[in-house]
Symmetry: C2
Subunit: 822 residues, 2 copies
């Protein structure tokens, strides 16, 4: 998606030769007298910054040493592998310096999002010019030595990536996988009324689905409550090897599109730096004034119409200011400038000479003093302290994160006089608690859902707030609110991206989704988990709030919606990420869900995946038992087992993880208790899936000795699991008793049917679990042949009933745990 | 994403009571005298179809019996679980009948795509009216008994899903997960010049990222070469619980948006059936004429400008014609009509009475004869044979699929005089073959890439074709072509969706992508795999061409792009799907890649995932050896092993899967051969990952005996694997020797570095593999302590070199397999 192609990206520069043909250095740089709001001094200094940042970017891409060109450029000064993309850099630097002008003139609080891929050299350069780089990295001072270190570390082993990343000062957005810049910007702006996010969107990125949808995020931005986003569409016309769609439609069509998205675009276009500076200054001034007007009007208390937010379309040449021709091919202003314009700079003398001319065309001698420090003209452009975009605290959200006010979850628990006596919809119980979490944290907690909040039974939240909605409100629309604390949009990408932006800038939230469709954001989850992992290794980054999923309408209760709605595989994706980052919880009932979620909302810097049902299910554990069980993460339910006395080894372990597997396991245990009174049965429930991993593989992993105590060293374990069965094997293959762990789970045997038929299709039903016990416990197959046949018959009866009646057989539908006290 | 919520969706109807409040049946139905192109007879018959289809839809949702209301509606006639969504159905049926009118009047070839979720009752109804249902399902004749069966099977155990699915006649699009309707429609239209696809896009679906991007698919539709897509935006204003964004922006803004996407929208709006019929007829007539003009102009040979394609915005009430009020709440025209308007029809007398009035409001007695057959007025509206949308062969692509003309891959192989003597970029070698595949199949083979074709080194294809591009072409744009056979757009969603549509309608193709970013379409892959699985069980469906991925720029060569670009986890997602459907290949070199890909392009109804490098890698196998090795899928490389004589058991097995793991394994073997001459070493390469699975778990699975022969029963296996290491354990945990299989793979230890450093970070480098051998083979740790320390030092040296020089240490970079013959 974002690319380093053959030329500069992933071949050694030593292998790349000049192809011959003319290679032309940039013309001597002249600042024309273009008219506009900038007087000559301001124009000159703005342009000086731009040249300095461009110089520093080219230096990062090419140079290992000789940063200030104090000696003629030689092969050994050039990196052996040339990485990073120059094409987008001049545009990024242009936006940066004009944002700085606005910050200083207007005292703004601005954050910067660099959408274009591999554009890292630009923000790195600006952060170094602003001094932030040196404040955060002692080995990179703001002088010649620091400049050398800045250059050398870029895209170099042990250094920093070629795109904006956790290492980049001022960035809360990773430029690796494209599509999420605008969502992160909007997420940052929510509940940040003083913040303006300048968000540069590449025209390549604009082709992605998530980005195409995310322009509509303005339907959720309340100008009174929230900050502003200024999208800058960087229309440099090219991707790695192709023009972009938005650059190859008539401008009228592009403007129509952006107006349709609800923006009022201003177009800045050209290739003469002075003229573009003047146009850009005008555009930024206009945008800032319009944003101010919008915010003042909204904050004056009038519930006005949704504003048409300003934005900028910046049409400048790809690789602007780079060598126009290389080896006979036009480069500046074409896709050939996307990456590294002079790929053979290390080996080809002409390329190297042109590179030197290119670097010198920025007139570094005017920009850096004898010690390599930026001259005062540049330093004067730097905003104060935290007002520097490279130092804005919102980009290091962990600095700002406040603990949530959490009502005591125990007060929301359901009473459980005896296990299984009552039934509740777990997510609805959680919803009452989340309602009060929402009310108690009115400016730093949001819930996101793709039109599934009520379907997932969290509608109690709507007792204290509406759904955020800035668009029109129709006669019959309900629960919409300009200040709503729930954001619902039928795009998992938007929910995920907005929440990420919100979390990355120091707030809290929950994303509730149908389990099957969370796969839509697999890639976004991956990238966020990588961000958490990488940022934990950056000394100046602070932990942010965890990303909390609540997956409901899960695989076992999507019988009616059918095969397309059945997929528990997100867990497999999640468990591929760094163990330090990911947590998976499968609470079996309402009280355990409350306990788990309380833990999740208190945690930092994780991705917590919680899967919980929305259908009525038995309440197994009281509040206090739930607290203990969840703290352990996995434990024996002695009240459900049979003859499982302390110190003895059971004949069989019935393990379960997930609410439906727990129900079926308990039902199987009840049959076995009733019919095989001599059998020693252990019932074991796993809430925290990571407990299954070896302790050296995950912080939550059970030590082998404890695992062996729970699962025995040699007895058959029949494990009813919520997800794909092999996941349990992947987690437990190192355990002593692994050969005796037999897992039942989902195996893509889906269809449109009833809940119990669905479980039967996957052989995870109570009757089959009994069969599994009979088949696995030595000697039982003959001894319990009658019971086994009964189980086979019971399955057949249940299937037949379902096909006739369209619902589950009453003996299953009405089953209750046979508590002796009832 | 698509939902069945509490009311009708996933609670038993027996549990749902009326909430009280007024419940109002639809008013008696009157067909007004609205002016327009339909004369009274035509208006009446078009409306009769619409009423009939709506009646049949309501019947499917509610009725288990009494389909023709020959007796008063009783509780036992009502299904216990009420599923399917009525809200979108009247719109779908309206589009269908007006498409039929166009088909008959103009002799068109039209396919239908129903985007809105759970709208299955509509197309099911129309297919039954058209007789197709009865032709394909003998138990559902086109009479009263068949109507009863049609109703009873809907969303019933053993029946059909609530959305369009493989079971739906005329559908090549599944309505489960939302977002892909327009992509499927465009994919179908490519290379189908006579086809027009009516694609109904729900305004809920329109909020998704993939759909938001896919409007731009018109930039790839050539009016001369391809068919047409007529998008119909079904603007019924509501999702499950919320209004839609597109319905809550001013119409002017919506029109601006659609124009910006390159369409010329016609708006049909209203709630009076006659008036809407007239408007819709006008709109469809206009659209068909405009499409005809566009196509005639293009086919006249003028390379004109990209046309502004017509489309329709259909703004009609949600649940149009349903009871306006239920339990005191407005239902028709609101989100409450999204699903099942009368949720308590089985238990609540009022609801049931209103349901009966609602059904009777369609006047079924006029629509169906005494035997329950559609009256001739309806049958006369049915197009002939294959012209029925429900019978269009493109929707059963396996009927149309032609074998590809495949040049002999052996002719494209690289010469291999001795293993490892030469080096090639595997994907570039494949590219030459794909070039000729492209040329030999000029109308049924396409390659899709998210701006990564050249980056993945398949640019040879561009020797015989350009990239398909219907937008403007700039001065410096190259290799763009109105008739190009490569589609590049920076949206993995669009690539995947267009290819799916192309395959589902009977053609062939390849999707090449960076490995890490293929996760972006995890969810789409899942849904396509489910379609393949489900459609294999539908007797009248024929196998389609496989979906072929070529994943390059893979994890081990994304050292320079860094952590964000490193993710081999798509394999884990793929392996969760039905074994019958999925295949994963990891060819170690150029010739094996050719052999594997030839196999993939010949295969049917699979998803083939091929991961192959684009960097120069040693050529290990000659063409003939590659053919044999790939046919086996896994085998011993005796030339690489040592003392591994027939019948003997080696001391250690060095297994590998993937090109970089193979290289490291061979390099480790070379060290061991040289330094531990007594050691018996087996080198084992796995191309077809499914060979590792037990034979009962996958058609390609190795029988245990063969597996044991290869992997031994008890010797240490050091397995260097391309992906996450636990995937090998998940595949092999049932094998005899599993406890001795030690896997090295990717463990999220990524950073920006060099290729070899990346391998070292994950302990999969040659030196560490030697250490693993020393540590695992009994007795070696002491015997080879010196070599072990050398290996530790070599790692340190390599790391240090890399940090200093920015590239790999020469002893590694220049390493070649030490073939004795050289």
């Amino acid at each position: 998606m974002t690319h380093m192609a053959s030329a500069g990206g992933d071949t050694s520069a030593d292998n790349v030769g000049s192809k011959g043909g003319e290679t032309v250095a940039p013309s001597p740089y002249r600042l024309t007298d273009a008219p506009g709001p900038l007087d000559r001094d301001e124009l000159t200094s703005v342009d000086a910054w731009w040249r300095a940042a461009n110089y520093l970017a080219v230096g990062q891409i090419y140079l290992m040493s000789n940063p200030l060109l104090r000696e003629p450029l030689a092969a050994e000064h050039i990196k052996p592998r040339l990485l990073g993309h120059f094409g987008t850099v001049p545009g990024l630097n242009l936006v940066w310096v004009h944002a700085n002008r606005a910050i200083r003139q207007r005292g703004l609080n601005v954050a910067f999002v660099a959408g274009p891929g591999h554009g890292g050299p630009g923000p790195n350069a600006c952060a170094w010019l602003e001094g932030t780089y040196s404040e955060l990295y002692s080995h990179i001072p703001r002088d010649g030595a620091g400049m050398g270190a800045l250059f050398a570390q870029f895209s170099f082993p042990g250094g920093v990536p070629s795109h904006c990343a956790p290492e980049t000062p001022g960035s809360f957005h990773e430029g690796g996988e494209l599509g999420y810049s605008l969502l992160h910007a909007y997420g940052a702006a929510l509940d940040n009324p003083d913040l303006t996010v300048f968000c540069v969107v590449g025209d390549g990125e604009a082709e992605t689905g998530p980005l195409a949808a995310s322009w509509h995020a303005n339907k959720f931005l309340n100008p009174a409550r929230d900050g502003a986003v200024l999208p800058v569409l960087a229309l440099n016309e090219y991707k790695i090897a192709n023009p972009t769609i938005l650059a190859r439609i008539p401008e009228e069509e592009l403007v129509s599109l952006l107006r349709g998205y609800g923006y009022d675009p201003l177009i800045v276009a050209g290739s003469d730096p002075a003229a573009v500076h003047q146009e850009m200054a005008t555009a930024v001034d206009t945008c800032m004034e319009r944003i101010g007007q919008i915010q003042r009007a909204a904050r004056g208390g009038t519930d006005g119409e949704r504003p048409s937010w300003p934005m900028i379309v910046l049409r400048t040449p790809k690789g602007w200011t780079c060598p126009p021709k290389v080896d006979g091919d036009q480069v500046e202003g074409t896709y050939r400038a996307h990456q590294v314009p002079l790929p053979a700079a290390r080996t080809d003398d002409t390329h190297r000479q042109v590179l030197e001319q290119w670097l010198r065309s920025y007139r570094p001698e005017e920009l850096f003093d004898g010690a390599g420090r930026p001259v005062s003209e540049l330093v004067d452009l730097v905003p104060d302290g935290d007002r520097r975009m490279s130092a804005n605290p919102v980009a290091n959200g962990g600095m700002l994160v406040r603990d949530l006010r959490l009502p005591d979850w125990r007060d929301y628990g359901v009473p459980v006089d005896a296990p299984g006596a009552g039934q509740h919809e777990a997510t609805r119980v959680l919803g009452a608690w989340l309602r009060d979490v929402t009310a108690a944290n009115p400016d730093n907690f949001l819930t996101f859902a793709p039109d599934e909040l009520a379907s997932n039974r969290l509608q109690d939240i709507l007792e204290v707030t509406g759904r955020d909605w800035q668009a029109e409100i129709g006669t019959y629309d309900t629960k919409l609110d300009r200040t709503g604390r729930v954001i619902e949009v039928l795009s998992e990408h938007m929910c995920q991206g907005l929440l990420e932006g919100y979390l990355l800038t120091g707030r809290h939230g929950v994303f509730t989704c149908y389990e099957a469709f969370i796969h839509i954001i697999d890639a976004m989850f991956n990238q966020h988990a990588k961000w958490l992992d990488a940022s934990a290794q950056v000394p100046w980054r602070r932990p942010i709030a965890s990303l909390n999923y609540l997956l409901s309408s899960h695989v076992w209760r999507q019988d009616h919606n059918g095969f397309t709605h059945q997929d528990p595989g997100f867990l497999d994706v999640v468990l591929n990420k760094k163990p330090e980052i990911v947590r998976v919880y499968l609470p079996p009932d309402a009280n355990t869900l409350l306990s788990v979620y309380d833990h999740c909302l208190r945690s930092k810097h994780y991705v917590n995946v919680v899967v919980a049902g929305k259908q009525p299910q038995p309440d197994w554990l009281s509040v206090s038992d739930a607290a203990v069980h969840c703290a352990r993460g996995a434990g024996i339910w002695d009240w459900a087992g049979h003859n499982d006395t302390l110190g003895s080894t059971p004949d069989v372990v019935l393990a379960c993880a997930g609410d439906v597997p727990t129900l079926e396991t308990l039902a199987a245990a009840a049959i076995l208790r009733d019919r095989m009174r001599d059998l020693r049965i252990r019932v074991l429930n796993v809430v925290d899936l990571m407990r299954l991993l070896p302790e050296q593989d995950h912080p939550h992993g059970l030590p082998d000795r404890e695992f062996d105590t729970l699962f025995t060293r040699d007895r058959p374990v029949i494990f009813a699991f919520h997800g794909y069965p092999w996941l349990i094997h992947r987690l437990t293959y190192k355990r002593t008793n692994h050969a005796e762990i037999h897992v039942r789970g989902y195996k893509e045997k889906g269809t449109t049917t009833t809940p119990f038929d669905m479980v039967m299709l996957n052989d995870m039903d109570r009757y089959h679990l009994v069969i599994d016990v009979i088949d696995r416990v030595p000697g039982l197959r003959e001894k319990a042949a009658g019971l086994r046949q009964e189980m086979v018959d019971a399955r057949w009866n249940a299937r037949t009933w379902t096909r006739e009646h369209g619902e589950d057989i009453p003996v299953v539908a009405n089953w209750r745990w046979p508590d002796p006290s009832r």
